[in-house]
């Protein structure tokens, strides 16, 4: 049943580190910034710089590299598929390395596939580094604060944050429940891992029905428990932990700017500027 566990990307790793202590808003915006830089970069050198930077953040956050790689494992499949698609269905033309019937592999497509695959891995790695070092509570708090200015245009910042808190709280519980139901069904002869795709999909129905019923019953009970504890929406509410921007957040922002400059400015951008 471990495949369910494997789906959980980037579980928070509690530790005392400068990265953990950063304001969650810094980490959220920083991650978005890095993702933007990743998409903007066209050079392999840029990816290498970003890899080194993420490695540095990981080390500063006291996350074991092996643990981080294990967290990325589910993504490798996705990357593999993306690379195969790029190689098989990319632009025609270029140096043909291999040809069999309709199947043509060119050097350009192979290089592009590797580049995009690498970039995809870095993309997930960047967000994973954030979730490794930011608890779900901090994450939702940060998100709520970032969304707060948009409340005026109708974004329900508090409600969204609360939904996310509850979802994150109950994902492990729902996984446990799924395991229990699966085991119960298997004890009665159900097969989840065998048979055709259709048969397997059908085997999931008796799993999903109790899961959904359970989830709705739980939602009811949870709403009642929240009301009993005086919940009445975001108004009047205070938080135990106030978010505060510190010097280290400015330092982190500066580092992110420097990395972006290194990755994006030389040499391709310069050449494009000079070419005008």
């Amino acid at each position: 049943m471990d495949f369910l566990r494997g789906l959980m990307l980037g579980q928070y790793v509690p530790a005392e580190s400068p990265v953990h202590r950063l304001d969650p808003r810094t980490k959220i915006l920083g991650t978005m910034w890095l993702v933007g830089v990743l998409f903007a970069t066209r050079s392999l050198a840029g990816l290498v710089v970003l890899t080194a930077f993420l490695g540095g953040v990981l080390a500063a956050g006291r996350i074991a590299p092996a643990y981080a790689v294990r967290g990325l494992r589910p993504v490798f499949w996705l990357v593999g598929i993306a690379v195969v698609f790029q190689v098989l269905f990319g632009d025609s033309g270029g140096h043909v390395l291999f040809r069999r019937g309709p199947l043509v592999v060119t050097r350009e497509n192979l290089a592009a596939g590797a580049f995009y695959g690498y970039r995809l891995i870095l993309l997930v790695a960047a967000t994973t580094v954030m979730t490794f070092t930011t608890s779900s509570v901090e994450l939702t708090d940060g998100l709520e604060r970032l969304l707060r200015p948009f409340r005026r245009v109708g974004v329900p910042a508090h409600e969204l944050a609360l939904m996310m808190t509850i979802a994150l709280r109950f994902i492990p519980t729902l996984f446990e429940e799924t395991e229990t139901i699966m085991k119960a069904q298997m004890a009665r002869g159900a097969e989840f891992a065998r048979g055709s795709l259709v048969a397997r999909a059908r085997a999931l129905i008796p799993l999903l029905v109790p899961l959904f019923v359970g989830a709705f019953r739980r939602a009811d009970a949870l709403a009642l428990a929240m009301e009993a504890r005086g919940y009445r929406g975001g108004e009047h509410r205070t938080r135990m932990k106030e978010l505060r921007v510190a010097v280290r957040d400015y330092v982190a922002a500066g580092m992110l700017l420097v990395v972006a400059a290194i990755v994006l400015l030389p040499p391709s951008v310069w050449r494009a500027v000079a070419g005008r």
Partner: protein, 289 residues
């Protein structure tokens, strides 16, 4: 009843009728009177559907009376402006440990109620620390709730309520999903709180737990069928049997022994009490021989 200080919670002529969208209205409570005094432990027992949970939800304004009134610390639960004050004064612990923890970290969950009260952050911090210490979970403050035992989860829920500084704790079958160790954990915690002056309303199907209360109230068909000290209530075998309830095994055993001629005092409720009484009777018997 009014010879003491005024009751913390005063329930008078409380009736509640559920009006489900489809089907007949369900009269769940019919004219219930009940007083809960400060520092008092009341066990609320009764068969399935007798109205226990419905009554519990009236105690902190989760439900409002169809008729009658519920006054908590001088506040009428029907007063819209008093609802939040009522919920601060009366805390509820529910049956399923998993369905009442909201946050993904223990201390964040404990803070939830205080945050709803709008307290300043430093005040919340100190209350959360204190509440976690009271239930003996300060070492697990950073844990995610799903890695806790059932008993620990219920203690987290209790801490979350305690941090709001309530006057009364209502436990609706809060131990029924727990193993014996978890049940003991939770019961010891709440009984200690009672000794510190908190009122307890203990809804339970366990007669052993009910025997620990100061007063037992038996609900049947939405009315109070019996009310009194545990020994008085458990002595009414006839009524209990009619309501498909029974006295705790220790009470039945004591009664059996007394019927067989062992000279025992009346009102024995727990195993240690019975053991002492039997030992005393045995010693007396030997001394006399």
């Amino acid at each position: 009843m009014s010879d003491r200080a005024p009751a913390l919670i005063r329930v008078r002529g409380l009736s509640h009728t559920y009006e489900p969208g489809a089907g007949e209205p369900v009269p769940a409570l019919r004219g219930v009177d009940l007083d809960v005094h400060r520092g008092e432990c009341i066990a609320l027992i009764g068969g399935n559907g007798s109205g226990k949970s419905t009554l519990a939800k009236h105690l902190n304004a989760l439900l409002l009376p169809t008729a009658g009134e519920v006054i908590v610390d001088g506040l009428d639960t029907r007063d819209r402006d008093a609802v939040w004050a009522v919920r601060q004064r009366v805390g509820m612990i529910f049956e399923h440990p998993d369905d009442q923890l909201i946050a993904a970290v223990v201390e964040e969950d404990v803070a939830f109620g205080c945050e709803n009260l709008g307290l300043p952050p430093t005040e919340i911090r100190s209350r959360v620390d204190e509440a976690l210490r009271t239930v003996g979970l300060e070492a697990l403050r950073r844990r995610p709730p799903h890695l806790l035992s059932g008993g620990q989860k219920q203690r987290v829920a209790i801490a979350g309520v305690l941090a709001m500084r309530p006057r009364c704790l209502v436990l609706d079958e809060a131990t029924s999903m727990l193993d014996p160790a978890g049940q003991r954990e939770v019961m010891e915690t709440v009984l200690r709180l009672r000794d510190e002056g908190l009122a307890l309303v203990l809804i339970t199907h366990s007669m052993e737990e009910a025997a620990l209360a100061d007063r037992v109230v038996v609900l049947a068909g939405g009315t109070v069928a019996l009310s009194g000290t545990p020994s008085d209530v458990f002595a009414r075998d006839d009524v209990l049997r009619r309501l498909r309830l029974e006295a705790p095994p220790i009470v039945a055993l004591a009664r059996g022994l007394a019927a067989a001629g062992v000279p025992l005092p009346p009102g024995l409720l727990t195993a240690p009490q019975l053991a002492d009484a039997v030992a005393a009777a045995y010693r007396r018997g030997r001394g006399g021989a």
